[in-house]
Symmetry: C2
Subunit: 180 residues, 2 copies
Amino acid sequence: MERKQLSKTKKEVIKIYKNSKMVFIEKEFETMELTDFGLGDLYNIGLGIIIYVNTERVCAKELALAPYQICPQRHLHPDIKGYAGKEETFRCRWGEVYLYISGPETKNIKAKISKRYKDRFTVFHEIILKPGEQYTLETNTWYWFQGGEQGAVLSEFSTYSYDEGDIFYGKKIKRIAVDN
Amino acid sequence: MERKQLSKTKKEVIKIYKNSKMVFIEKEFETMELTDFGLGDLYNIGLGIIIYVNTERVCAKELALAPYQICPQRHLHPDIKGYAGKEETFRCRWGEVYLYISGPETKNIKAKISKRYKDRFTVFHEIILKPGEQYTLETNTWYWFQGGEQGAVLSEFSTYSYDEGDIFYGKKIKRIAVDN
């Protein structure tokens, strides 16, 4: 991604974090991870991540989503490299999050998916999270989520976040930072 | 504690949470745990706790402290009942927190301790946490903390919170809810 575009996107993400009224120190914005999951389309598929803590056992972070930006469909990684499967809770702090998991398909889902990505999503059981609402994912389930029309900030509380080990649905997906 | 006093204290704690601008749903305030650690002096020694998640592996919660209210000196519990020692990170969200751990004693600490509790504290290495600042405790250390003059809200991210197993310094301390 071009440096100029990246700088613009970063400013937008910081604005979303500031909308949430949660307090961050400047260094956290500077070292924030912007990821496009290797798809080169950060505007549609990506996250702005601030990591509070990520040890071998505990992980807590904030995720910012721009309006209608998607975190692509993935699977809570199973036992890998000696680690037990991941446990994950999402809590909406600001905006609105459309979360999709395995289960009866919701009619007329709120999410918007660009045609070019339609084949990357297979689960459509909708859970809408508004500020103060949260959801704990069961292990071994596919899930994906999207920010609402204003975007969203959500907290993730989980066991060790071994992102390189996440299993994404579809080809060419990996979580890598675009800016380092 | 008398029901009337408890109701008043609860309102004060909710006000502190609202000051933080973090969003909670009403039910979280209703089911919030007020603990006086069994000392019967919630005004000076206590916490108002909102638990987001507490599984066998991950725990995330918010703690509210009234002005100069203290969370008493305790020890991160070591291996107990098959669980490895606790890992714990505190992040200040609002107000100011005076955190004390083992280490060189800080002169003129900011905390205020009522005479009747002076013998309950033995570590005085001061770490001041302002909004957006955080600290991860090493295992096997004593620690205690106090809210600043406005009180404080702080997040705790940790491994399984097995509070009954916490080791407190001094007699007659246990974490029990005063309202149920």
